[in-house]
Amino acid sequence: MSAINCKSNGGVVIAALLGILHAMAAFADVDVSGRVVDLNGAALAQAMVSLETASSHAGADVITVFSDADGHFRFPEPINGVDSLTVRALDHEMLRPVEVPADGNAEIIVVMRRRNNQADVAPASAWLAGIDREDKALFIRDCVGCHQVPSTEVRTYAGLIASVPTGEPSEARLQSWHSIVQYMNYISSWEFGRANPSGPPDPENAYSVGSGEAIASIMAEHFVGAMDSLDGYEHGAPLIVNEDTRILEYEVTGTNAIREAVLLGQPRELWLADVSTNRMYAVDIASGSQRFVEVPAEGDMGPHSLHRGSDGSLWIAPFFSSVVAHFDPVRETWRTWDTTTIDGEPIGIHDLSFGHEHEVLTDKQGYIWYSDIGNNAVGYLDPETGAAETFRAPEVPGRTDRGAALYGLVMTSDREHIWYSQLGLGSFGSFNVETREFEALVRLPMVDSGPRRLTITENDILYVSLYGSGQLVEYDTKSNTQIGVYDLPDTASAPYGATWDPVRGVLWIATSNADAIYRFDPRSKTFGVLPLPRSGAFLRMIDIDPQTGMLVTSYGNIVEFVHGPRMALLIDPGDDAYDNRVADR
């Protein structure tokens, strides 16, 4: 079953009429290029130039390129209708808006002046710089799981707190932020309980996050005043963008909670998981057209984690149910498995076993292994028979009083071991799928370090992104030795997941709180920054398209009433790493 977004019969008639009007007032293609300079006429390199396309343009809604060393920029393809052109940089702002001519060749000079206030351009992470490391890890782990913090809404609320007359401003701040913590607990209870047949949560029983008092105290101490002025934020590592870097953003219309994205099929389509429905959206990257298909699951499934199959198919893990779905994008056929434990308990599947190419990798029996976030377990699904079995993880010494949230999962190249992370316990470990025994267990120094999604190389080097502490762990699974733990360029960036890029030989790290993607080069142990053209760029996974080397990701704000962008992204980093690779898939 599939549908387009606007499907009323009346809409067809209106569309026909508007089509005639459109033909009468069509835009001409325009080649857009120009130069970014400062007030002295000096070139500004690596400035982010974003062009919002008009609805007449077939393709992405927003296209972003970067200026070269001489300040020059060029959009590689003609644009059929431009709504606006903006240039962003952390330390400069546009002197005045620029207009793009409606046709012909547009050579645009953009003059920038030094920026005195970064409040409107710095990422949410910038506001967390002054928080003690352990407090920051706790705060990020508890609060940045669903959306960026502090978001614009949070900063607006800080202004409201500051505006209320009181003789005891510290106490008023504490009370107010405590209320916000409670309010967000309700909202998240509602969101996570969408599939709950008993209806919305009871407000008096939704306020249960154990660290709520500590979170409120952190906010009261650090979110002071109107929060409308900021300076001194830096990316923390060199930018890796150049004149060939290109970012394409596709907005998904209507109410949705887009989570993850992959490229599939021929021609390529962006497939997006909408966790708020049972829908998978498909976006034609050439035309920008959108449609959706329903996952054929009973009740609320909530497509969540996406995994490419080596045959070009798609595996989907659920958010609300225990249904695993498999989709063939060529034939548009489905197969689903409603998994339970041998005891008949529901399984809370988060990840399926990723291999080093970021595709589902089965064990030697053809079983797909999964992480079970609900039962602190790993398990397998036999796609032939539908049989499933789970194995509960052992206790982590000293960390038994918290929910484990067994989260990410990868499989080693010998297909005999899986490695998992435990978000709630600050730990990761391994399980032998042949002996069915847990083996290694690594306890990270900070319980709130927040290990989430994992990735592994063809040489079985494991990378663990630490969401709370803003670090990356590099671990040799063959020798069971830790190679290193590295601070990310911004330790408040909330790195959600890392993805190994086997062709470039680098790691791409998706951040939830820094409006950026980080690149880690394991040869030099250095980071680079790929800035994103949008506030609220709450990332989850990055996939690497094996044909083109494009990075594929999406802004994954989950809470319905949080005003984050709902967009999928294709990113060409601007290198030629994949140019000589045979497109044989």
Partner: protein, 122 residues
Amino acid sequence: MIIGSTSTWMRRTACAVAGIGSVASFLFAAGNASAQEADGAELAAGKRCNACHDMERVLLGPPYRAIAARHASEREVMTEVLARKIVHGGGGNWGVVPMVPNEHVSLEEALAISSWILSLGD
């Protein structure tokens, strides 16, 4: 302004026109006070107002009936004032904790909600 990336300019614009029709229908319905109040009750639940407000109990904010009782004598002007407070937030009337802004609620929806709240004092 990004208006969405549906398949073509035609489809996007058709959707926008259909959306305008929906808003017009809503505004027409809003002319009926009792219907507006009924909508307000549903909207209050759907927009998560119940996270902070209950009919009788003090949660994070004051009970709906207490708000209605306080503003019973100035209902007309307070319908407008409360609606704007729902959208933009504000504080100082019920203690030091400001109300959160609710930018996901349109002014029309907020008017329906405030009208319903104030009708509880009837």
